[in-house]
Amino acid sequence: MNLITALARFLIFPGLLFAIPAAWFFLWVERKAVALMQGRVGPPFMQPFFDFIKLLGKTTPPRTGIAGLLMRLWPLLAVSAAAGAVGLLPVLPSSGGFEGDLILLLALLELPSMCIIAAGFSSRSIFGEIGSAREAVLSVSYNVVFLLAIVSIAASQHTFRLEALAHLPASPLQILGVVAILFCLPAKLHLNPFSLPNAEQEIYSGPMTEYAGPELAMWELSHGLEWVAATGLVATLAAPHFTTWWLAALVFIAISFGVVLLLSIVASATARLQIDTTVRFYWQCTLIFAVLAISSALFMRFRS
């Protein structure tokens, strides 16, 4: 992958130029789907964009010292990590990539949630700290399943190169892995039934309680970019391989949209679970998928 393709992927498609409008669009789809499920009309199409612009124009409370600097830093770090994760997705055929970019993608996907944990604790708000603790517990539980599912797909192909995994022929192992990832996405995106870190009826806005103005806008953007990256990961793993670039892009967008719709409908149809129920769900029920996936991957590896 030379510098120009890397820059084009990061800045144009599927990077910033595509990802930021897509992030707003997915946030709108989420809110609209929830509204329609509740029998409401829901927000207008441009709502997340207006929210973002409005937040940019608000003042922020004065923050001093190293804690203030950190609080301003976390949302920027989260946005850049999420944008980098989107830029790494191998959407277009023969888009390059390098050996081990899957590991980088997983690290970048994990970074926003690390930033949320750190932001809650550095805000020194009691609600922020509770939210951060919940996010940390949640992250420990779903990541076991999430990483095992992805590692099992990678191990069966003897590679950590994303493009090789994207061009995988459909197999039971791949379906198992994608289903396990889908189970983890609500927790990763803080959706019902696992919306524990930002449970607004219990702990206000969780780690974001103390944030205002442009900093909050950055958190909203990073949340939207996380949507694009996480659903994009499912789309690249699940999509069949196309050689025409526009067909590949179209199928990528369609599958991402479908996943967003599915997650939003599940979110509006469920209520929030308790933290111990959530942890039990991931460690007892969903782990079965991951163990099945990893054992079949090892089996395939020894056969081949």
Binding site: K54, P61, S205, T209, E210
Partner: protein
Amino acid sequence: MNLWNKLMCHSRRCSPWIFHMNSGSCNGCDIELVASLTPRYDAEQLGVRLEGSPRHADILCITGPVTRNAVGAIQTVYGQVCGPKAVVAIGSCPATTNVFIDSRTLDGPLAKHIPVDVFVPGCPPRPDAIIQGIAKAAEILADRAAKRLPVESVMVPLAEPNCACECAQPCKSAPTAAASKANP
């Protein structure tokens, strides 16, 4: 006004995030405020979002006749809302202290403590009147921010208090009293 300012003004008008605060209300207005977010009235069509933290909000919705205990909390919360901001007084209580007038446990009305932009009279007001008040407050907030006016200079009571819904039956005395108190 350049393009960015126009966009900002429009965005402020289209995305009023509210924070709800009870200053000793009987819970009637609080129920009506929540009712304005339910499927029947659906304030989210106007971009209204009920926020948990005053730091996120643009519009502070206050119900209740302002008890002595609530004064400090109101001033703290008002200070925590980041500018540009607006205040909506929901119900007759924050406007006039309503039937609790002359009670020694009260330190009302609300306009004594913080600048109020919109009064939504009624005991309780109907949800559509509340939505109209929030929309009006969003407009005031956007205009004030665009013209860089100080907060205290604009004190606009709802122009036609009972025009929000034809079937609404708000008490006739409270709105006029609210308007005269706010705009002497």
